[in-house]
Symmetry: C2
Subunit: 534 residues, 2 copies
């Protein structure tokens, strides 16, 4: 194409989209807000900038060069926030290690990420020591802590090194497509797979998601007066990108360290926290910790990572927690869409709060069949400027992820009448029986309405005649229900056409609890394994 | 630097920042809102998409290819909105012609832009006919109108051609750095100078400015329920980029055609317009047109293009117009900063509404002296991802604009205690007398407080002893003041240290009105010319 391009003036500044510019922008708007550290310290934004400079100097002195990986194992702390900026701003790659994985899996991800330096909270010192023995790539381990220094501070103590360091690191501009962050997805199948995000991707995610949150209706929208505290681990997809957003906006930020429910509530009260995000289980946990208490001021929480039930949304609302759903995944940086009421919605607002909702700006969404043709119900595929370009060096998985030029979410979805994305199920959890698709999440919702069912999960198990057949796992509440009870209960939904009679489970397995993955999702792979054993 | 880059999956979609994606994003969020055309028609967003496709087909059939320039001369219309998308989406360059320039200047800018096709409202048919005669480059003129077709519709009538056209133009992805738009600055000195903006620049401006407006405090913030109507001509810096923002957000939009005060008010009433933007003079005009009336619902208006006086802000507020200042220029796409109250501001909020305010995300600002060292008061220089890279082929002016790697705004500014940008004066309007800088705008504000002064402007005139000396132009209200009256009145401000005694004007020239440029700013060049003649 014969496009036209500008011939820039000799000294014209060609602005690359770098994480450094998010910080600079926060400084240029001169936020007077504080960042409350996990050790209780209070930093201004100028202090934050200084500490980021010092951390970069320390890392540089430890041998970190552009392109190197720096791995972090920490709870949600101001140190993590500093690493979110300092490491990528040096041109190095921040690896956020999932500390909830098994030591074996952690070793795999750290080796795969190629980190030479590990920033490690004292709580994980034994794992770090083991890693150091097993992985010759690791040259240094810097120790972090929120109280007194650990007796063994590895190759140096974070705060001591920062205190002794220089303020000014000569951060430079570079290619915005350089990788800024990497981490591993915690899927329920196979080895953890690496995803990676460039500076450009993170900056664009920050702008578009910030725009979305600022544009939410009253009572749910993020404002510059909000006080932010993450309730998603910072190792998990950049805590949904929110620390970058909070910093760009110059918000007051509160970093809670390890999640201890009473401590989270204490911090909320003391620091007037008003904006957080977490998995639905976390919202449930906060409700439990609140006991009889109702909050004196609304706490807005975006709930994501798994389906957000309307019942949970309503229970939270009664306590002053205004939670609504967001949708995304590790591969998508992560935000794809956010539940959106309209300013004038009333009646059906509760249900709207729990949908995957509307795509954030620049996200393109389609619902397609196997041949990538548009379908009323099918796989949700997306395009956005912030999607991982691959699964590390796993070319087969990378090609599958991007088949046909769209990122495959592996989620089955449809659009509501007003265009909200409605996630129906994981593609792999859909139970394919006799040519019909049974949506496991729909079955779970229906069975949960039975008075003696506390929790429920449906999986498909191979069947020679029907392909697959549904099996129900139930955690009973009070008198354990029988399979007949469940059939009788579900008959009403068959009768009114909500579900097909093929969806009735063949077996009911009672369990004390449902197995969960490291990020708190129900582990359906484990459930399928239990079918033969039960 | 040894940066690391991802090796994308074979089919991974590398998302370029293209104007096309703003439109696609609006469609993916399924806005149910209408776009009200300047001819009264109502379009849905799907209709808009179809018409953009048709316009591209019509232009393509007229010979427009990527890299070609398409010039538009129109009032603020749905057609202009269509051209904002269709022309750049083809890879062609949209030239927005300033119809308020003299025919000579219009001819210069159209020739300089190199347009082969001109989309021209019937009101400008005589100018188009003249252009066609003088500029052999122009191959076709398509005629546009809001009522009946003009008797002579040039080489075709816009609506007829669209009605007869195909829906689907095969829009493709291309380099995001391709030029999307160009227009000429209307400086008060020299020939109009061309600026140009790429797709990437416009997309980033759209995101960052949208984020800013959505993040304003209650009563001033843009919401998804707002109804947008431009009150800045669409030939002027993409109407401040707002049509792109309104479209991305899927807002209801109202295009008013030629600005006729009563018609603007009628449209506001009929379509429930709540969000606009315009020069302070426009706000003044609306107040005049309202007469004794107060609006029944707030009308948020961003006022920019020249200083926004607190008195005007207060007068507007009394009528239900909640106006606040924005700052920018043709060279900056245009938004650099927006006045920002905090949610909890009260007392000094009026003054805060009138400052240039806080930079929008990604904008970096400095205040510097001639050597580009930081200064308490000096020239405001900026960096942002959406600044023109040059003044067309005028290499000298381009190099001056970008001297030292920062874009020179030619505005003198300082920061307020809370970090707001406070514009003091145009660098060329600062009156340099006896080694002191006298801020002409400050003098104008002070003299305006005199009961017999309706309007005032200060210019510096050459003086052999002092370098320059101030001269005051005054439009009197009631009894015309004398130079002695003004000196007595200003003595209080000298006494309390607000101004230096060197700032007292040497001469007072009474005039019936102040000369203005094509965009409504006071023409100080003309005033300086009048000093000798008066």
């Amino acid at each position: 194409m014969g496009l036209r391009f500008a011939d820039p003036a000799a000294e014209a500044y060609r602005y690359p989209l770098l994480i450094r510019h998010l910080l600079q922008s926060a400084l240029d708007t001169r936020s007077g807000n504080a960042i409350v550290g996990s050790d209780g310290r209070r930093l201004g934004y100028v202090d934050l900038e200084r500490r980021i400079g010092r951390l970069a100097c320390v890392l540089s002195a430890s041998g970190v060069r552009p392109g190197d990986t720096v791995a972090v194992m920490d709870w949600d702390s101001h140190r993590y926030l500093e690493a979110y900026f300092a490491v990528p701003m040096m041109g190095a790659v921040l690896q956020t290690v999932n500390v909830r994985l098994s030591p074996e899996q952690i070793a795999y991800t750290v080796e795969d990420g190629g980190a030479r330096i590990l920033l490690c909270h004292a709580d994980f010192a034994p794992i770090a020591a083991e890693l150091r023995k097993r992985l010759p790539q690791i040259e240094r381990v810097l120790s972090m802590h929120d109280g007194d220094p650990a007796p063994d501070s590895g190759d140096g103590d974070y705060e001591t090194l920062l205190a002794d360091g220089e303020d000014l690191y000569p951060f430079e501009d570079f290619d915005e497509n350089a990788i800024a962050t990497t981490f591993h997805t915690t899927g329920t199948t196979g080895l953890p797979k690496a995803v990676a995000f460039s500076h450009r991707q993170i900056v664009l995610h920050t702008l578009a998601v910030a725009m979305t949150l600022l544009g939410q209706p009253d009572g749910e929208r993020l404002t510059r007066s909000d006080v932010y505290m993450p309730l998603t681990p910072m190792f998990h997809v950049h805590a949904w990108g929110m620390p970058y957003i909070a910093t760009l906006l110059g918000l007051k930020q509160v970093y809670p360290g390890r999640y201890i429910p009473d401590r989270l509530l204490m911090l909320r009260d003391r620091e007037s926290v008003t904006f957080s995000h977490g998995v639905p289980t976390l919202v449930q946990m906060l409700i439990g910790a609140l006991g009889d208490r109702t909050l004196d001021a609304d706490w807005k929480i975006i709930a994501g990572g798994s389906a957000f039930p309307v019942t949970l949304r309503d229970a939270a609302r009664e306590r002053g927690i205004r939670a609504y759903a967001g949708y995304g995944m590790s591969e998508t940086a992560p935000v794809i869409s956010v539940a959106r009421r309209n300013e004038d919605d009333a009646g059906d607002a509760a249900a709207l709060s729990c949908l995957a909702g509307k795509p954030v700006p620049l996200v393109q969404v389609r619902i397609v069949d196997d041949s990538l043709h548009d379908a009323a119900e099918g796989e949700l595929v997306v395009r956005a400027p912030w999607l991982t370009m691959n699964y590390g060096t796993d070319h087969g998985a990378s090609d599958g992820l991007w088949r046909g030029g769209w990122l495959h979410t592996q989620d089955v979805a449809r659009f509501s009448a007003r265009g909200d994305i409605v996630i129906r199920d994981r593609l792999k959890d859909v139970i394919k029986t006799g040519g019909e698709w049974v949506c496991s999440t729909q079955m779970e919702e229906l069975v949960l309405r039975h008075p003696y069912v506390a929790m429920a999960s449906f999986v498909g198990v191979p069947d020679p005649r029907w392909g697959e057949r549904p099996v129900a796992f139930v955690v009973p509440r009070g008198e354990p229900p029988t399979i007949e009870d469940i059939h009788v209960f579900l008959a009403a939904f068959v009768a009114d056409g909500q579900i097909s009679r093929y969806a009735l489970p063949d077996r009911l397995i009672l369990v004390d609890e449902l197995p969960r993955t490291s990020v708190g999702k129900i582990d359906k792979k484990a459930l399928r394994g239990m079918v033969g054993a039960a």
